[in-house]
Amino acid sequence: MSTLAKQPPQEQAESERANRTARRVKSERARGENRLGWMLAGPAFAVMVLVTGYPILQAFFDSLFSYRLTDPAARRFVGLTNYGVILTDPVWWRAFWVTTLITVVTVLVELVIGFAFALVMLKALRAVRPALRTVILIPYAIITVVSAFAWFFAFNINSGFVNPLIGQPDLNWFAQFSTAVTVIMLSEIWKTTPFISLLILSGLAQVPEDLQEAARVDGATWWQRLWKVTIPNMKAAIMVAVLFRTLDAFRIFDNVFIMTGGSAGTETLSFGAYRQTISRLEIGLGSAYSVLLFLTVVLICVGFIKIFKVDLGAARGER
């Protein structure tokens, strides 16, 4: 400002005019960039909103009706009754707790095994690293239904190799809840641990080596270095991996369908929604079920971000 004041009036006016033009050019450029940005990203954005936003709104609308596909004439508005029916039904709560149990156990076990795998991959001899990376991707890439069948057949009382191996020829794993849910969780853990281990590995690779070195020089043991240096430095990577896996595990459906079909008390929330809609053709109740499943997932996600302060910027690759 002080330099401007010293300029002769005419020059000052001119420089102001130049500033205004520059600003206008800049805002025009910004507008152009906005327009181009939305032209390029708009279609993808619209498709994403259409394929999820519209159906979930439709589900909410349908959930306000008592409507069974086999009896369309009897369709009538019932307000929030369907939600009341589901939330006072022990079947929903049982499915909720089964799903929660599967989610908590699998994610914790995956985290421990995944961490061990990541450490091995980080330290493995360079010659075997590509081979390790290949085998570790196989469970990730295999179809969930195929993995569910592999585990189902392995524990099957008529054809499985597991029973003779552990000397329990008469154990029917899928006849009671405890053993059935164990096999379901084993197959889920097997399939998804590689993904979590790769995320942890990429987090591990970002822990500064000199920090490790300094701790080593100061006489910290391997265990102390792990807890005091490595893990605190990769907390963001771990939390994002845990959030994604939690939400993914909460949707569990494929393994349950293949192994038990929801019997032996193993019905999960996703399976419940499937049963209401596809098997029983209860569009009203099924929609309410779907909306509740959706809200539960949103709640978990928000809770996670609030409690653990997960940095979603990291997840979006913005850092």
Binding site: A44, T52, L137, V146, W151, F153, L201, R251, L293
Partner: protein
Amino acid sequence: MDQQNYSTRQKALWWIAGLAIAAYCLIPVLWILSLSFKRASDLASKTFLPPVWTTENYDLILRGAAAELFLPALRNSIGISLIATLIAVLLAMFAAYAIARLNFVGKRVILTVALAVAIFPAMSIVTPLFNLWRNIGLYDTWPGLIIPYLSLTLPISIWTLSAFFREIPWEMEQAAQVDGATPWQAFRKVIVPLAAPGVFTTAIIAFFIAWNDFVYGVSLTSTQASRPVPAALALFTGASQFEEPTGAISAAAVIVTIPVILLVLFFQRRIVAGLTNGAVKG
């Protein structure tokens, strides 16, 4: 991190750890492979390896009685997954280019929506789609699956590609133009080779996800007109009520696993980069 001067004992330990991981990852796959070569009469032997090797299960699903169930499903799976991948990668390419190179209002909104769609429980939109598809005639058709598959393939494609595109040195395009290349040449000779690996990797990851789908496949189809392999496998039935079609399912499972294993074998380094770039970046 590459202090590879291990003692012999340490080397042996890392080898054992590596082999343990390999065993963990491969045993269930080897088991279903072994099952696929077992005769129906040997299933009760419960041995890990077949006592007698046979290809009768493959005959059954490729030429025999189960072929009319399996082959159309295989065709549906390949076609639907490839189309859903192609559309997703194409849309994501434009979106990711804008996100990586332009500064525009709403960029964060797009990325947040992609994140929200990725965590969306697929089963939640099955009920409304089931009803809607039946009303407008999309139930049990290819488009009826391709459209919901986009909710699976598009968000991950946008992230993965945005992460890849952020790392492209875009200045090189101008540098080439300064050196006398036309804009088109600069784009084709400089940018396309730099961007192609990321696009290709994204396509592989999106394909895995579409190929894996079961929720939509089992809920939104009813016949072999559109039913994909995972759903067909789940609904396979034996020759009689008392006979489990274990061998046929195993053989079909092996066949649909082959493309996946080939992709992993050839592109493992890129797939790992794509998975970790897209999800976590620190």
